[in-house]
Every structure is written in structure tokens, then in C-alpha cells.
């Protein structure tokens, strides 16, 4: 089963149910976009897949290549090939990007094996060039004092370095101007291939002009209400979310 499979997922914070019976599968090599209005539960979906402790899973499961993610700690999920690009990446004061990534890559090696420093830097610089990131970036603390664009590029850089099998990109376009958006998109595109499945979460269609999805899903009020090909995004952009809500039988006013 080479896929990230979300089956009948239900998630709550306290009494409030945020994801209501959601199912979705992302195969290796596929690019899925999930679109939805604010408050539809998109970011919750991303965090639950990654294992954020604030959310309570009340039903369903998420399988990665057949393995139940809910039985794994967040770092175990990551080491098995799951990557989340955060909408709001945390600052890690004093820890440089170079050291951080190195620790993350070291954690993926078998016990007793040391990361080869020269190979590591060669790879790091290659990926940085790709993302048009200046070399001096590596000695800055992770996300500390970064602009919105720098944070997002840093997320994609980490993704490039950690070679995930499945990546969830949570509102990777938010806070980016058009130039920064193009750089980030071309970074993501360069990582596309038969060994990577991507779940791209976005509010706006504009990102999908640069990262063309294979499938588009529309999420409203905690569930997928419509799925289709890339043309669905354009239709949605044109007609707005209310159109979908009407079709889905959801109340129009939020």
C-alpha cells in the first residue's frame, strides 16, 4: 500500500468537532490539493497527521504505507518519511539551521553511524542554491527573525534535505508575495517525482497556478465535499466557496 490513507477521520478540540468523517488517499507520486475556506479544518488535518498533541482523534485512522500513524510519536512518524511544512513555523532560538538539519538527519541514521559532514554540506548547499537561499542563511537560528518568505523557504529547504515519502504543505503560500511564491513553488516542483506524495493545503487557487495538482479536494466544515481534477480549483476560484457550500448542503453563512 504505497499511499497516505486517511480513513473516516474524526478530530475534536474539547467538545468541538473539527474534522467530521474525512477520507482521502494520497498515492506516491501524486500531488493532491485540499482547498477550503477559513475554519474548514484544513490546518487541523495537517497537524493531526503529524501528531500534534493538542488534538483529540475521536475516530478513524491515518495509514502511511499501511502503518497506523496514530500509534507513533510525532518524531517516529517523521523518521518514517512524513514531513509537515508548517503554516506558522516555530522559532528555535540559538539553534542554527545547519545544526538543526544535521541533528534531524543524524536522527534518521542507524545507531552508531555518523553523518558524513562533507556530503551533508554538499547536499545542503545544492538544495539552498535551488531555493535561491544565500549561504549565510545556514548560520542563522531556525526561523528566528525570519520574514514570512524566508520561513517558508526554510520549510521547503528542510523538506528537500529530509527526503520525505509524504509531505503535507500547510498554507505554504500564506504570507508570500508573488516572487517568493514562485521560488517556493519551483522548489516544491523540483521535489516532485514518483517517490513523493504531497498533500497541499491552501486557501487560494493562486498557488495552484505554480504547483499544478493531480487532484483537487474541497474541504468544508470538516469534510471533503467535492473532489476532482485540477480544473476544480479554477471553477472554485471563479464561483467562490459559497457555490460549493450550496452544493454540499452546508449553511452558506459561516
Amino acid at each position: 500500500m504505497q499511499q497516505l490513507e486517511i480513513k473516516n477521520l474524526r478530530v475534536a478540540i474539547g467538545e468541538n468537532e473539527i474534522i467530521r468523517d474525512l477520507s482521502l488517499s494520497v498515492g506516491l507520486g501524486e500531488m493532491h490539493a485540499v482547498m477550503g475556506p477559513n475554519g474548514s479544518g484544513k490546518s487541523t488535518l495537517a497537524k493531526v497527521i503529524a501528531g500534534h498533541p493538542d488534538y483529540k482523534v475521536t475516530g478513524g485512522e491515518v495509514l502511511m504505507d499501511g502503518e497506523n500513524l496514530f500509534e507513533l510519536d510525532p518524531d517516529e512518524r517523521a523518521r518514517k518519511g512524513l514531513f509537515l511544512a508548517f503554516q506558522y513555523p516555530s522559532e528555535v532560538p540559538g539553534v542554527t539551521i545547519a545544526n538543526f538539519l544535521r541533528a534531524a538527519m543524524q536522527a534518521r541514521l542507524p545507531e552508531g553511524e555518523e553523518l558524513e559532514a562533507t556530503d551533508y554540506y554538499a547536499k545542503l548547499y545544492e538544495k539552498m542554491d535551488l531555493l535561491e537561499i544565500d549561504r549565510s542563511f545556514t548560520s542563522r537560528a531556525v526561523n528566528e527573525g525570519f520574514s514570512g518568505g524566508e520561513k517558508k523557504r526554510c520549510e521547503i529547504l528542510q523538506m528537500a534535505m529530509l527526503d520525505p515519502r509524504y509531505a503535507v504543505l500547510d498554507e505554504t503560500d500564506s504570507g508570500l508575495d508573488i516572487d517568493a511564491l514562485k521560488v517556493v513553488a519551483s522548489g516544491v516542483n523540483s521535489l516532485r517525482g514518483p517517490n513523493l506524495g504531497v498533500l497541499l493545503i491552501t486557501h487560494y487557487q493562486r498557488l495552484l497556478n505554480y504547483i499544478v495538482p493531480d487532484f483537487v479536494h474541497v474541504m468544508v466544515h470538516g469534510r471533503i465535499v467535492r473532489s476532482g481534477g485540477k480544473e476544480l480549483a479554477l471553477e472554485l476560484e471563479e464561483k467562490g466557496y459559497d457555490w460549493i457550500r450550496e452544493h454540499a448542503g452546508e449553511p452558506v453563512a459561516a
Binding site: 503529524a50 501528531g51 500534534h52 498533541p53 510519536d73 510525532p74 518524531d75 512518524r77 517523521a78 523518521r79 514531513f83 509537515l84 508548517f86 513555523p89 516555530s90 522559532e91 528555535v92 532560538p93 540559538g94 539553534v95 542554527t96 545544526n99 538543526f100 538539519l101 541533528a103 534531524a104 536522527a107 534518521r108 555518523e114 553523518l115 559532514a117 537560528a141 528542510q158 529530509l162
Partner: protein
């Protein structure tokens, strides 16, 4: 990539062992004139030293414990149950081969002889009350650098020793400086002649082996005009069930244009009361820098200071304190500006883990009519658990219009979001925590000599183990 961390032995477990040793000299338990006289007799003190000690004993007895501002935990020290002097012999040898086998084993296990070969210009190794080994590389000795124990220093070089001894820290400075002045033994006496720049560090290693013991070393370092020196001290003791007392006095003198750097990495076991007075006197255009890493001990009270006596002199304290369960690190810095254009810098970072408590106490004093004095103080505290505690108590006095003083402090913690973020990248919770803590001290540790920064980071990792969850 493997980094050699054997340079500095501050691994707690590495220090937690002790051997049975036969002491030839033992002043017994408790403190009175008889004990002080015993120490003077054994050490064959000159009369002025004996008088100095006896007078200090009176000062010690007359001074109350500073519990009106400091921790009440001080009252747990029973001065009548401590042994004030324990030694096997009276002279430090110049060769490890001559060090008695049972003592040598201790230092070998701590890796001291090995470090000496690798990167030190000289080593002194103190075992309980006396130095058992003291040696300086030939080339350094030939430059006129003196590096001996305090007993030898006061006898062999009285003209230099007496001139400065007790001048930076008078006996009555505080109760513990008075105690040290009464029963001091061991510690280093160093003199660096004008213009001599000692390339490699001199190191002293202080080892407590005996139970119920008090170690009272006395260090006096004089850097003559234009000279430079780095001195490092390391301390360990085995874990005993009873209280052990370490109460040193360290006086530094930097004459015109000299640069003196004093580095401490203490890793005391959690039964040690570490109550130390350290101060430097900086003459014109000189620089005194304290680098102080306080890990371990039950209670540490230590506020290294610099009296900026000469124009354009500079003082600096960089400190890291890590207070683990049940420990109280009460540390800080004192900067006394006494001349124009003097500058001082204090950077203090503390980490409180579990029920640990880290306290910063600072004193910055810029008196009247000075011009262009600057002080910058930054204190940052990191709390790891809900039960951890941190305090900051600076006192700043500034007079006049020519000076500027700035103090900033912050308290933060490792946030859950931060840990989750790092876990998502594949790091375990403990690794994430350790990385965050190292990040917190990183900009400061970068200013330390390489051998220390590497080992310190590793030690922090060790201390962080088991602190998560």
C-alpha cells in the same frame, strides 16, 4: 564526526568515585584556634601568615551568615562537623611518578596528566587540602612565569605575594572569605612578568576526596604590565551523603595593559556547598574576564567581580548556570567602576530544571564624576519545568551624566510548539529539548575556548536526560 571531549573532565559520573587514602596530616573535626594553629604549624607559616589566619578566625566568628538576603539553606552547614585540613604530604611534586599511587589513580581517572601533555602550559592538581602535583612547561618557566601553590608562593616569593595578598578581597569581605582566610590551603600563586604572553592555558584541578571535608584553596594571580594569561580551573567531588564545603578565595590583579582570563567549570556533586569569593583588580587599559560555568552542587553562591581601577580598563563576566533538581545556583557578577572610560559586560544565562532554582544577583556601581563608563548586563533565564524557579536581583547605581548603564533580563521556556516542530523533523523529545537548551546558551558558549564549549554542550545534554516528561 567525533570531537575529542577528554580535554575537560566535567562529566558528573566521571567524578563520582573516591578512594580510601591515608592522610598523614589531619586537623580533626571542627574549627577553633587550635585548628588554625595546627594548619600554621604543619605548613610552617611565617608569623605574619599565622597572625593573619588567627585574626581572620575572629572575623569569621563575629560575622553572621548572610541569611537576610541569601538562602536559609546556609544554616544547614554545621561548621563544627567539618574537617578543615587533610593532607598526605606537604610538598607538591614536579613529576606524576612521584605522586603517591592512591592519589595519582584519582587524577589519572580524571584524565589530568593526559590533558597536560595535550594542550596545557602547566598544571596544578590539588587533592583535598594540598597540591600533590604542580608543574609548568619548561619554556614557560624560562620566561619567568611563576606557577606554584599558595604555600610555596608566600614563602618563596614574599615580595610579590604579600604586596597583593588579601588586597582585592579583604578578610572581612564576607563570612566565607574570612573562613578561607583563616584556614586556606592550596590554590595557585601565579605571576606573569611584564610583556609575557602565555600561549597555552595554565590549569588547576581541585579534587575533594574526603567526606565531611572543607576545601579552602586560595588563588592569587598577578599579570604584570602587558602580559597575558588564561587560567582554567576544574572541580569535582564524589557524592557523599553529608555536606561538603568548598569555599575558595580567588584574587586577580591585571596591571597596566594586561589581559587575564579566568575560566571555571565546576561540576560538583549535589552535596557540595560551594561558597566562593572571586574578584579581580583591573589597572589601566587592562582586561579581566571571568568565564564561569556552574553545574552541580547543592548551593552555589558566587559573584565574580572586577574592580575597574584604571582608566580604560575592562571587566567581563560570562556565566552559565544549570540548576537541576534540588539545586540552587545563586550566581551573578559585580562590576565596580572606579575610573573614567571603564567598560564592563555581564552576560548570564541560567537554566532551571525540575525543582532547580537559578538566581542572578548583580551589582553595578558607577560612582561620582566618572566619564564615559559603560555597563551592559543581560540575564536570560530558561525554565524547563513547571516546578522550576528563577530569580533576578540586580542592583545598579549610576551617578553623573557621562555614563550609561543598561540592564536587561528575560525569562522564557522551551515551548510545546517548539518541541513539536522539532519532533516533526524527526528528533525525539529529549533531543529536541537538549537542542533547545543548547540553542539558548549557544551565543554565549561560542565565546568560550573550544575545549570547554564542546564539553559543556555535552554536559548539558547529560543533565537534560530524564528532565523531559
Amino acid at each position: 564526526m567525533k570531537t575529542d571531549t577528554s580535554a575537560v573532565n566535567i562529566d558528573r559520573d566521571k567524578g563520582d568515585f573516591h578512594y580510601k587514602v591515608d592522610y598523614g596530616y589531619d586537623a580533626g573535626v571542627g574549627l577553633d584556634e587550635r585548628v588554625v594553629n595546627y594548619i600554621s604549624d604543619v605548613k610552617q607559616d611565617p608569623d605574619w601568615v599565622r597572625e593573619f589566619r588567627l585574626k581572620a578566625l575572629q572575623t569569621f566568628e563575629s560575622k553572621p551568615l548572610p541569611t537576610h538576603w541569601a538562602s536559609k539553606d546556609l544554616e544547614a552547614i554545621d561548621f563544627n562537623k567539618i574537617r578543615y585540613y587533610l593532607a598526605q604530604g606537604q610538598r607538591a611534586t614536579r613529576s606524576w611518578d612521584e605522586v603517591p599511587e592512591d592519589v595519582k589513580r584519582t587524577f589519572e581517572r580524571l584524565g589530568i596528566p593526559e590533558q597536560e601533555r595535550k594542550f596545557l602550559a602547566g598544571v596544578e592538581a590539588q587533592f583535598d587540602s594540598e597540591a600533590v602535583y604542580s608543574n609548568i612547561k619548561k619554556a614557560v618557566g624560562e620566561q619567568g612565569v611563576i606557577f606554584v601553590g599558595s604555600t610555596e608562593g608566600l614563602k618563596e616569593y614574599p615580595e610579590i605575594f604579600r604586596r597583593w595578598f588579601g588586597k582585592v578581597i579583604p578578610t572581612g569581605d564576607n563570612k566565607f572569605s574570612a573562613l578561607n582566610s583563616a584556614v586556606f590551603s592550596g590554590g595557585s600563586f601565579i605571576y606573569v612578568p611584564p610583556g609575557v604572553k602565555v600561549k597555552h592555558p595554565l590549569q588547576a584541578y581541585f579534587r575533594i576526596n574526603a567526606e565531611n571535608f572543607g576545601q579552602f584553596e586560595r588563588t592569587l594571580i598577578i599579570c604584570d604590565e602587558g602580559s597575558e594569561l588564561t587560567y582554567m580551573e576544574g572541580c569535582t567531588a564524589p557524592k557523599f551523603n553529608t555536606a561538603t564545603l568548598h569555599s575558595a578565595v580567588v584574587e586577580l590583579i591585571a596591571l597596566k595593559g594586561a589581559k587575564l582570563q579566568y575560566i571555571t567549570v565546576q561540576n560538583w556533586s549535589p552535596n557540595v556547598f560551594n561558597l566562593v569569593t572571586k574578584r579581580g583588580l583591573a589597572h589601566e587599559e587592562s582586561e579581566i574576564k571571568w568565564i564561569d560555568c556552574n553545574i552541580g552542587s547543592r548551593l552555589t553562591m558566587k559573584y565574580p567581580g572586577v574592580v575597574l581601577k584604571g582608566r580604560k580598563s575592562r571587566g567581563e563576566v560570562l556565566s552559565i548556570a544549570l540548576a537541576n533538581n534540588g539545586q540552587h545556583q545563586d550566581t551573578g557578577a559585580k562590576m565596580i567602576h572606579a575610573a573614567d572610560e571603564t567598560t564592563s559586560n555581564i552576560i548570564s544565562k541560567s537554566i532551571s530544571i525540575g525543582t532547580g532554582r537559578a538566581t542572578y544577583r548583580g551589582l553595578v556601581h558607577v560612582p561620582k564624576h566618572l566619564k564615559n563608563c559603560r555597563n551592559n548586563t543581560e540575564c536570560d533565564a530558561l525554565l524547563i519545568n513547571a516546578t522550576s524557579r528563577t530569580d533576578t536581583y540586580p542592583a545598579i547605581t549610576v551617578r553623573g551624566t557621562g555614563n550609561s548603564v543598561q540592564h536587561e533580563a528575560s525569562v522564557s521556556q522551551v515551548s510545546a510548539e517548539q518541541i513539536f516542530y522539532m519532533q516533526q523533523r524527526g528528533l525525539s523529545e529529549a533531543q529536541a529539548m537538549s537542542l533547545s537548551v543548547n540553542g539558548f546558551v549557544n551565543d554565549l558558549v561560542r565565546q568560550f575556548p573550544m575545549e570547554y564549549s564542546v564539553e559543556l554542550k555535552r554536559l548539558i545534554e547529560l543533565e537534560m536526560e530524564g528532565s523531559v516528561g
